[in-house]
Symmetry: C2
Subunit: 215 residues, 2 copies
């Protein structure tokens, strides 16, 4: 796919903006570095502005490249977002695998620790917060979120449960955690916002376990 | 307070926009109807546009009044938002009282049914969804949300528990419900989005009860 045919009108560069002269495939040796630079810029833009206010042109500008090059590597704005979200979710996907290893009756605690751990660290929390904000506000961003969370993280966990309603169980477990994240990190309601993380794990892990494997 | 001194620069009408000639106190007989009309317009504007994109001027226009009159009745944009949110939360506040009546060991089920009931009906869901979206995206709106939910609904419930950590318990119970709302009504992830409401109550009510009164 080339920038000239990629079809995201909302984010594509306007005609005659003077950047088109740099269109076309980049020299092969530059590719990996350029792609990563665009992806870093995209994560930063989506984090700061959210999905709706971010444009492919803004990402290109932040990365110091032409908009066409962003389209060339990633396609539409939605596809750039999906690539950025995948990077942010890589630790959660790795964590999902860790949840599935070890004793099944401790899966609830492992899942709780994994999620709380990701949100306690600002390095992982900031991009996740941006994704959640975008998903709450924009249907396209919500679709990306659904595909990655329901389609990958939760389906992996449900697949290991070997119980009727495994997917509903995984989602109800996720719901308890999502609610804690919303109240603690997004809305920051007290006393949950300042409660010791270990105390939250202690109260929440048995609930998550109950959803996953309880009666 | 008059429009000339009300202090919401983001939403106040610009000088010289031709509406100032209608400033001043309205005739007393009109007051109740005008106030309600402004409040209806505010709820509609905040629902459709969210907190950030709504302006006092837009609310005034939708209500067919001068911006100064909006400031006169409600104050700043934040105060108009708070008044609109209070109206949307009136059923939840009434529901909080109902949660506290009846057998304590069924409070979890009553709280779950009350919240799911509010979100199953589009009439109450649409304004609540708008408030949640605004609170996730805007710190001022989040503050209004914290004051009303933590300060009123949850504190009332916690006050009846007569247990250590009552407020944390009420918030963790709310967290389970908030997560269900996010996954079912906001992100609309399957299978939870299409699951029978009664089946959700069956699985979630014992968890809510456990947070409220469990060990």
């Amino acid at each position: 796919m080339t920038g000239a045919t990629a079809g995201d009108s909302a984010g594509a560069s306007a005609p005659g903006d003077g950047t088109a002269r740099r269109r076309g495939r980049p020299p092969r040796t530059e590719s990996a570095g350029t792609r990563d630079r665009i992806l870093d810029a995209a994560r930063e833009e989506f984090s700061v502005r959210g999905y709706e206010k971010t444009s492919v042109r803004g990402i290109a500008k932040a990365a110091g490249v032409d908009s066409a090059l962003v389209h060339h590597y990633f396609g539409t704005k939605e596809q750039v977002f999906e690539a950025a979200v995948e990077v942010a979710f890589a630790p959660a996907l790795a964590g999902a695998d860790a949840v599935l290893e070890g004793p099944p009756d401790e899966a609830g605690e492992r899942m709780t620790r994994m999620i709380i751990g990701l949100w306690e660290s600002p390095v992982t929390r900031v991009p996740l917060l941006a994704i959640v904000r975008s998903a709450v506000n924009n249907e396209t961003a919500a679709g990306v979120f659904r595909r990655l969370i329901a389609g990958q993280v939760l389906r992996r966990i449900a697949g290991q449960l070997d119980l009727p309603d495994a997917e509903l169980r995984a989602e109800l477990a996720a719901a308890q955690l999502v609610g804690v994240l919303m109240i603690r990190y997004v809305i920051r309601m007290e006393p949950l916002a300042s409660a010791d993380a270990e105390r939250i794990v202690e109260r929440v892990a048995p609930v998550v376990q109950g959803h996953l494997t309880g009666r």
